[in-house]
């Protein structure tokens, strides 16, 4: 299939075929990262702007490195040193960046829908690097890529997402991606953070952790997001670890080939035992490596994509094909 999207705003609007297209393309880009010369000229002359209105290190560095490996020029924009502090609106900031001929704007924002808002008036390509508690599409793509790489398939697998679901954009994007690709998703955590309403997204919801992880092929642990939570969501960190944390005792009752995933940053000793995080079943660092390949694939694909609102692809010149 051909990729036709100009932006990557969310997973919800992607088809299973489009998700697979990104994952297949990422396989080739992962090879690039394994070579002595880890760079290809696919985005030569393009300007990529990392517009991170909310703090982030790993996602920003991953996107920055992805763009650099595609030979784009990258500018990092952080809130602390910007005019947003002086009261400039997001729209004005984005328009100014576009006036500097940015080709791709990667945005992280604390407000859900901020990337969709930018996509409505910008000519540049927009990539969502996390918008509030809404979606974090590249995280879901790199998670599914890692599962596919390790397990060889997605359909039919039991994936348990454990932790703070309510405030998690990672959870939402993963739920969309996994259910579209045919995995069976179970959500677990404190009832205050895992409400039953998620059953509407096609997931099983349980508040019993042993039951949730018993048959899991993958356990994806989510961080307790201290910055997004009110103090009343659960009584305390110690109780959270006792009731919901992935401890050695709990791990013994899981399938022997279960994969442990975590989008990071890890709160060691809170949602996951430190030794498990570094253990043989943990694919946490594979996720980071794969994130780079997936983000290269996303930037490459959207750079060539035009959507319904964009200009039609120029009339194909027969010489542009392979023959």
């Amino acid at each position: 299939m051909n990729w036709n999207r100009k932006h990557l705003l969310d997973i919800e609007s992607l088809s299973a075929a489009e998700i697979m297209k990104v994952l297949e393309t990422a396989r080739s880009f992962k090879q690039v990262g394994e070579r002595a010369i880890k760079k290809v000229p696919a985005l030569r002359g393009k300007t990529v702007i990392n517009l991170f209105i909310e703090p982030s290190t790993r996602t920003r560095i991953s996107f920055e490195l992805a763009a650099v490996r595609l030979t784009a020029d990258v500018i990092n924009f952080s809130t602390d040193s910007s005019s947003l502090k002086k009261g400039e609106t997001l729209k004005d900031t984005a328009r100014n960046l576009e006036a500097l001929s940015a080709d791709i704007i990667i945005i992280r924002h604390s407000a859900a829908g901020a990337p969709h808002f930018l996509a409505r008036f910008l000519d540049a390509h927009v990539v969502n690097a996390g918008d509030g508690a809404h979606e974090h599409p590249t995280q879901a793509l790199l998670d599914t890529f890692t599962i596919l790489e390790k397990k060889g398939r997605i359909a039919g697998l039991n994936v348990t997402i454990l932790g703070d679901i309510l405030y998690s954009r990672v959870a939402r994007s993963n739920i969309w991606a996994l259910t579209k690709l045919g995995a069976k998703v179970t959500l677990c955590g404190p009832a205050t953070l895992v409400p039953r309403v998620f059953e509407d997204m096609g997931c099983r919801v349980t508040h019993k952790v042993d039951e949730a992880i018993e048959n899991a092929d993958i356990i994806n642990l989510l961080r307790i997001q201290h910055e997004r939570q009110r103090k009343t969501m659960f009584p305390g960190i110690g109780e959270y670890t006792a009731l919901w944390g992935l401890t050695k005792q709990r791990l013994e009752k899981t399938k022997p080939d279960v994969l442990i995933m975590h989008p990071g940053p890890i709160n060691r000793g809170v949602e996951i035992d430190s030794q498990i995080a570094d253990g043989a079943r943990s694919v946490v660092l594979d996720q980071v490596t794969n994130g780079l390949a997936v983000r290269m694939a996303v930037l490459f694909l959207i750079n060539g994509g035009v959507d319904a609102q964009g200009a039609a692809p120029s009339v194909p010149d027969p010489r542009l094909g392979k023959n």
């Binding site: 051909n2 990729w3 036709n4 297949e24 393309t25 396989r27 080739s28 880009f29 090879q31 690039v32 070579r35 010369i37 760079k39 290809v40 000229p41 696919a42 595609l70 694939a297 490459f300 694909l301 750079n303 060539g304 994509g305 692809p313 120029s314 194909p316 010149d317 027969p318 010489r319 542009l320 094909g321 392979k322 023959n323």
Partner: protein, 177 residues
């Protein structure tokens, strides 16, 4: 579109591949240095066929791989996003004689992209280009070292190469608009 005109039937295609393999062997007496790299997708089958014949001629297996050139194309902005294919580089290319295999040479831009892609993978001693069909209309100063058949075409015509491995039958056909 009018009926396709057959340019090569299965027998003629087989003869052309065998002849090219002999030419490669003749040009490169140190056959142990040879590496065949096909350009996806048709070039991969072409490289595998050449490798099979060459193994018989040289008396030892000749490494065959694939070289994706998509990320090095100069027309990425002018077409729908093309498919990126995984690469398979079977041996260290430094000091080797790389024979690039593509089923059709047209503008020469694929071959140019292939040279750039190779640049990132090592420094072969020599790079040669084998193509089953040369249909003319070059836009760059690039010539194939080994050609199965020269086919004069108009720019708006199409050459379709079918491979037994993918299409069930071997054939080269010309399609007029």
């Amino acid at each position: 579109m009018a009926e396709p005109i057959e340019i090569l039937n299965p027998t003629a295609m087989d003869f052309a591949i065998r002849r090219i393999a002999h030419e490669i062997a003749e040009r490169n007496p140190r056959s142990s240095d040879l590496v065949l790299l096909g350009i996806p997708t048709g070039g991969i089958f072409f490289a595998q066929r050449l490798g099979h014949v060459l193994a018989g001629i040289c008396g030892h297996p000749v490494p065959v791989g694939s070289l994706d050139v998509t990320m090095h194309r100069d027309d990425l902005d002018q077409r729908a996003t093309p498919d990126v294919h995984p690469m398979d580089i079977p041996v260290d290319l430094n000091g080797k004689v790389v024979v690039l295999a593509d089923d059709v040479i047209f503008s020469g831009r694929t071959a140019r992209a292939a040279l750039d892609a190779l640049n990132d993978l090592g420094r072969p001693r020599r790079i040669q280009l084998a193509t089953l069909i040369d249909r003319g209309h070059r836009e760059l100063p690039i010539t194939a070292d080994f050609v199965g058949k020269n086919v004069p075409t108009a720019a708006n015509e199409r050459i379709d190469v079918h491979w037994k491995e993918a299409a069930g039958t071997d054939q080269v056909a010309l399609l007029k608009p």
